[in-house]
Amino acid sequence: MSTVLIVDDALFMRKKVRDALEPFGFKIIGEAQNGKDAVKKFEELNPDVITLDIVMPEMDGIEVLAKIREKNKSIPIIMITAIDQRESMLKAMKLGITDFIVKPFDNNRVVSAVQKAVQRTKGNI
């Protein structure tokens, strides 16, 4: 069973992502509500996939992405954010993301992004 770490400052949004993924057999291994917590939980929990919001208190998602990439180049990270702007997307793509989903999302979009991310990693092994 693949494990997912959900990072978003809004409880409501974390629930939405969880509700989308759980029926498809993904295990939500943890949730983080700010950037610092996200980096910490990534290290502790070693998830298979991370979904990451951009706008958060105490370190935004782009910084979190950079911090995680310093330690791990390959873990799939999917941005899920309300910010649909060129600059943020470019920054995230340069640092290395698997997908970029704009909130509010269709559940299918999140499920298929996570499924593809997991398949890709497994294929690499």
Binding site: A10, F12, K15, V55, I83, Q85, R86, K103, P104, D106
Partner: protein, 201 residues
């Protein structure tokens, strides 16, 4: 400072932004949700607190700081009852005691609604201007409308005499809700906005 051309461009852009915000919120709420921009106007700073009417009524305010190429404050203000309606639509507890303490889930529903609405507006404006502006996580405040607005305009008031108001209407399930979206660009950002629009022609 604000000529007719600039104001009409801003209005068109704001309506486009509202359209995108409507689509986004409809998806979030899983039902048709419509935001319309009635008008975009400039108001002398000291009149802002009276601009929603009923300045002594209690309202819910979701405040974000916008940072990037364009900076300023963006605020969504809802009547208390409308905030409860939104919570209900999103599957939350409508009977939450909003006076004493709102629950974390209900709070995040309102914050996420504001985040998505404000981000949609910003995304639309910024893609047109080819610039970037990111709203912060919304801060929730419940207080007298007039008091909230007076504090919000405080920062701009030292430097500018006018504020930009987007008077909007929210509609869902034949229920009309009154909401006000306010964007207060810093004076230098307002100049950039103006130049950006003029040069975009």
């Amino acid at each position: 400072m604000f000529d007719d051309l600039f104001m009409s461009e801003l209005t068109i852009l704001a309506r486009h932004g509202a359209e995108n915000a409507s689509l986004a919120l409809s998806r979030l709420m899983q039902r048709k949700f419509l935001i319309t921009v009635n008008e975009v106007k400039t108001v002398p700073i000291q009149e802002v607190p009276e601009s929603l009417g009923e300045s002594d009524a209690i309202a819910i305010c979701l405040f974000t700081k916008v940072e990037g190429d364009i900076e300023g404050d963006a605020i969504l203000i809802l009547k208390e009852n409308d905030a409860l309606n939104l919570i209900e639509i999103l599957g939350g507890d409508k009977n939450v005691n909003i006076e004493e303490s709102i629950g974390e889930m209900e709070l995040s529903m309102l914050q996420e609604t504001a985040n998505i609405t404000i981000s949609s507006f910003m995304n639309t404006f910024m893609s047109y201007l080819n610039k970037s502006a990111i709203p912060s996580s919304p801060i929730y405040i419940r207080d007298l409308i007039g008091s909230i607005l007076s504090v919000i305009i405080m920062e701009s008031a030292e430097e500018s005499d006018n504020a930009l108001l987007f008077s909007t209407q929210f509609e869902c399930k034949n229920k009309e809700m009154e909401a006000m979206f306010i964007f207060l660009p810093s004076p230098s950002s307002l100049k950039k906005l103006k130049n950006g629009l003029t040069n975009a022609q």
